[in-house]
Subunit: 396 residues, 2 copies
């Protein structure tokens, strides 16, 4: 039969990115396309140990039964403390929701607030999957300019006045795709301005623990005095993406709506996933494991920056992040990175993501996002070398 899909979904199709990903099964391809954490940084032995202990516990049967939608009580308690590491103090369990990865937290926040046609401000460029999700709620994303300090506050205020947005979405620390970080002053100003105009903020924070240089900056949420900021953090990049756990922190009224939304979506996050995250944090494994992981990420990022300096054409400009997973590169405007991608994959056996998909308002065709966490150091050098050859050919 001919299916009449809902308005929200009828234009949601597989992205070009997803099609490219299918090619990545080929092991000869060096991928800078994904956002996977380094496999060698995932705490495989710790999770084995923890899972074994959970199975051996006398109350294992409770792991198999239904759990509470808001999450394991012990985990929620612990998360109140955990978010202090992002400068969020005084969180109570009613402020905290266990989520099935950061993605679910974003989804639930949109579900709770966005009506079709509502404007959502986003940093331009921003997280691709956010743009798709906002689209599925028929929200209208409008880009806000950014500078080296964070969001351009004049542009932010102008866009707020012009569009009366319902929401601002941002990744203030080691942004996806740019790798840039907002200053503390910029965060404080954003918190104050959005509170003044009654704009809800989603602060998406999957990367802040992956800092290999520079100074810690408190979360935007830590400057929230009005209760308009929803802080969403994920354990995907620091414990395991496959385990699908994260945490949302917000005003109790907001958490309650998100909890009701979650009840409809999946009832609760799987108990074993929650208990693994709980035990990993409780046993104090995060700090030592992070120390090792950020060292590796720092080396990989260093290798990529070095290879870029060595091989890339002079016209190639890029960011120099202090953490996270991505470098954001800019080619001369006559290069269309989307058009070049199939050739990069097929002929040079290197994958990246074309920058245009990260822009709410179009454009950005000459940008690329490069992930440095997944490939090893030798692959990083080789991959950048091959990409540089391709770019030089096209620029010649």
């Amino acid at each position: 039969m001919d299916y009449t899909f809902s308005e929200r979904m009828k234009n949601m199709n597989g992205t070009a990115t997803r099609e490219i990903f299918k090619l990545l099964g080929d092991p000869s391809i060096i991928s800078f396309a994904g956002g996977n954490p380094a496999i060698e940084c995932l705490p495989t032995e710790r999770v084995k140990e923890i899972t074994g202990d959970i199975c051996a516990a006398p109350d294992f049967a409770r792991v198999l039964q239904y759990g509470l939608t808001a999450g394991f009580p012990e985990l929620r308690e612990l998360l109140c403390k955990y978010v202090e590491s992002a400068g969020i103090t005084g969180a109570k369990t009613e402020n905290v929701l266990v989520i099935s990865g950061g993605q679910q937290g974003i989804d639930l926040a949109l579900k709770a607030f966005i009506n079709p046609g509502d404007v959502i401000l986003v940093e331009d460029p921003t997280y691709l999957a956010f743009l798709q999700l906002a689209n599925s709620y028929e929200g209208v994303c409008v880009g806000v300019r950014a500078n080296d300090d964070g969001l351009d506050l004049a542009d932010l205020e102008e866009k707020i006045k012009k569009h009366s947005p319902k929401m601002l979405y941002c990744v203030p620390t080691f942004s996806n795709p740019t790798g840039k970080t907002y200053s503390a002053e910029n965060r404080k100003a954003i918190a104050e301005m959005t509170a003044k105009y009654g704009v809800i903020v989603i602060e998406d924070d999957p990367y802040s623990k992956l800092r290999f240089k520079g100074e810690y900056v408190p979360s935007l949420k830590s400057y929230d005095t009005a209760g308009n900021v929803i802080f969403i953090s994920s354990f995907s990049k620091i414990i395991s993406p496959g385990n699908r756990t994260g945490v949302a922190v917000a005003d109790p009224a907001v958490i309650r709506k998100m909890e009701i939304g979650k009840q409809g979506t999946d009832l609760h996050t799987p108990n074993l996933s929650q208990m693994i995250t709980y035990e990993y944090l409780r046993r104090g494994y995060l700090a030592p494991d992070l120390e090792k992981a950020v060292k590796i990420y720092g080396e990989k990022k260093g290798a990529m920056s070095e290879a870029i300096r060595k091989y890339m054409p002079e016209e190639f400009e890029c960011t120099d992040p202090d953490g996270g997973l991505f470098i954001w590169g800019r080619l001369p405007e006559r290069i269309d990175a989307a058009k070049l991608l199939p050739e990069a994959v097929a002929r040079k056996k290197v994958a990246y993501i074309q920058g245009s998909v990260f822009f709410a308002d179009g454009g950005g065709t000459n940008y690329i996002r490069l992930n440095y966490s997944y490939a090893n150091v030798a692959q990083i050098e080789e991959g950048i070398k091959r990409l540089a050859e391709l770019f030089k050919e096209k620029l010649a």
Copy 2:
């Protein structure tokens, strides 16, 4: 600040049922309210063994990394075979989506098809959480009458003609809340009629494996020749609710939309959950475990039916299910089961669910849903005895 929640969520609040559930922490209360499988039927030792084996496997690290949205390839393959037990033949992986419990399958189907204002036909009474979920998509549920054979086909056709519904939702086997099962002829007729009028059907099938008497009936999906039926099955009642796994089977175009919806919602079901379900099925544990489980469910249901016969007032009528988890009871119309519930819990220490919450069109105030899977046989007799005392008091 004052939050302006979305239209879809602004009227979604905690249900009365959820408030009652909070009281169930009191161990002196006998609960017939939930829908939890019997803890003694959950395969605790098997899951321990499987989880240990997964942890010991040389490729355990892959469990920690991101997975595919549609599910583990091996699990999808196996599920194509698995659904043959529901009479669904010839399913290919493109027909199959791994879901985080049956609830998510329903959510994704609504997300794919329902616009605000769309009419959804439901059996009256039907699954409470479906009514809430449909509400969150601003769908309009309209009840269809049922009889002992299944849906009243004349009423179904009349409602289709009158409302041009987008969708029909039903639980054809051991319905929640009634425990009743549609005949094979009724299913075939529903499949034909909905195909004729282009109505999408969600066949929700969490209970059909829990049959302790009577004859197997093939799924409604097995009669689908037009591709309009979405079959949703769950492993919550037969392996573990806390593990959150299930399967949706539909036309590839529908599965693809649901997959894109799932990508936005939670990226993928946790790998460990999927692998536990995969190994449990692959090792052939389901058949022998089910044999033991249905024996227990049959005994419990027998104990409840017997206690009802022994203690309940003559005016109390109820269903006699061949499987599943629920008995559906009817009191004289002057009894309001919702009003009586707090007294039942506080004074008699017994919980049930008031029937009214299961009706799309209101009414049903004199009905109750009784779960027989969770309490033990002695509690079932004692609980029914206490409830009967209360009802007799009120009827006197």
